[in-house]
Amino acid sequence: MTVRIQTEDFDVAAELATLKSSKADVGAIVTFIGMVRDLDDGDIVKTLTLEHYPGMTEKSLSAIEQEAKSRWNINQSLIIHRVGALKPSDQIVLVVVTSPHRAEAFAACEFIMDYLKTKAPFWKKE
């Protein structure tokens, strides 16, 4: 159950290695990586800026994790969301869920992303 908000990029492999080092009985790891889509209308590559509401962001993402944990049998979860300036194909968000069972890992990971998209106070500005 970890939440991080950061301007710097994240290293999916390093995060997975940390989660896998736990002693839990993990059978399934589902990972979601969200990336900036190509906003380009022509030759100009656009950038976007991600703003958030410090304090509320961390609280809402922790609440999302808690809600997922109450619904499904999950061992661990990790949410990393970037803020600040981003360009096309940059990584924006990482959600990882580990569970003894694959269906629960999928359900919890997708739930967290859906919830994050509709409830967490982030705003993209092109």
Binding site: Y53, M56, K59, H81, I92, M113, K117, P121, F122, W123
Partner: protein
């Protein structure tokens, strides 16, 4: 009562600042009341808070709806629909 109000994203850009401390008249009890109160400031405030624009509100870091009650010392935030992920 005294509250703090925060504005985010395009609402912040419209009103041109991000936070203010406000002394509210006793008639302002809910988010709806506060929106009406802010709309009376005229210009962009009226455009933002008196129309049917979608503005979300949070009280003390929790998303709330328009009937939510405001209390002395609360931190109230106004922002457009979220677009993270």
């Amino acid at each position: 009562m005294n509250i703090k109000i925060l504005y985010f994203a395009r609402i912040k850009e419209s009103v041109n600042y991000s936070t203010e401390d406000v002394l509210l008249p006793s008639s302002v009890k809910t988010i709806t009341d506060l929106k009406d109160y802010l709309a009376q400031r005229g210009d962009v405030w009226t455009d933002l808070f008196s129309t049917q624009q979608t503005i979300r509100a949070a009280i003390n870091h929790e998303l709330v709806d328009n009937i939510a009650a405001i209390h002395d010392g609360d931190e109230v935030a106004f922002f457009p629909p979220v677009t993270g992920g």
